[in-house]
Symmetry: C2
Subunit: 232 residues, 2 copies
Amino acid sequence: MAYDASTLPDVSGLTVGIIGGTGDQGRGLAYRFARAGQTVLIGSRSAERAVEAAREIAALPGVPAGTGVDGGDNAEVARRSDVVIVAVPWDGHAATVAALAEPLAGKIVVDCVNPLGFDKQGPYALTVAEGSAVQQAAALLPDSRVCAAFNHVSAPLLADPTIDRIELDVLVCTEERELVGVVGALAARIPGMRGVYAGRLRNAHQIEAFTANLIAINKRYKTHAGIRVTDL
Amino acid sequence: MAYDASTLPDVSGLTVGIIGGTGDQGRGLAYRFARAGQTVLIGSRSAERAVEAAREIAALPGVPAGTGVDGGDNAEVARRSDVVIVAVPWDGHAATVAALAEPLAGKIVVDCVNPLGFDKQGPYALTVAEGSAVQQAAALLPDSRVCAAFNHVSAPLLADPTIDRIELDVLVCTEERELVGVVGALAARIPGMRGVYAGRLRNAHQIEAFTANLIAINKRYKTHAGIRVTDL
């Protein structure tokens, strides 16, 4: 029952779409998956900007020649992907997700959005009527398989081509045990990462909100903090 | 600005009181501090039970002969201690803390209480009017120096005399930078632990609530999970 990477499913044949793939977090994740040879689709409101970002990512250091990196508008990317990561700003979360309900039906949807506010004292967790961003997505996508993951992954680390390993755990909140395997296997394609089951969707709020604490840690210690689960 | 244990203040002369020191968490922390040679006072509603627990802790493996481990009722312990850890069940938190406002005046108060509910789906975070247990304590103790810490420390690990090192980070939420040093130095008396500043009190809720996720992790992976901040 301990964490065991050898039991993870083979996800190398899956196409990973990233809604909001031209933002820092989405672009960084796309780069890391492309570096691992995963087929990646960059989604954006503008298909043109998505195609441009895909071209840039495919040309980044470490991405194997011939890796499929393509771009399109969010709906097209949702339709063509097996696993879809939602990486849009919290402001546009509900509207973007709701508009994609049809193409996302039947898909695995991984929400990594953190509802945070900022004032002069720094970041703080916003109250979300549904409880959390991922619960909002689950409510808007009744025909999708929704989970939360990749909430704590530092965009600057993802983007830095000189960094090979990113040592942290990706906490996966879900109602479906099978998703832990799929998302855990995707996380494990990024050297240093493990995917760890961290509870049901109703316990996702504090994982999203904890990003405010990581930002405080980053500021105090001049770092790019993540978390590792100990004794696992 | 990185984490640097060499800059921690010397806290070896401080008396650490534990309100709720006969519970699993309080008793476990008391044991670890006593193992490090720290003077510890066990507090309980019943002075008799506190004295009995203190006697038991002083006799546990690894506690140096002559280490000061004593017990008393919560008010006496609050009065006689420099740093007071609040480790009571959430149910009694507000009443216990409010009753100690006078003896806790001027003291450093470290709240490690996690407001959780449990149903057949497992643990979940409770809503707290003040935002979090530590904010409730801060509101009830206007003359104390209140912070949150030790929320994620596994009681079974603390209690196991065969375990020397407990590898995890103690996240400290506070408005006062100085408290990070004092609490961090206390945490560092337990081999394997670091105290890490993790934001203001308004960002403590998610740290308390995250204990629900750790319980889910423990159940799934049969472990005693904590967290370590990476890149620090």
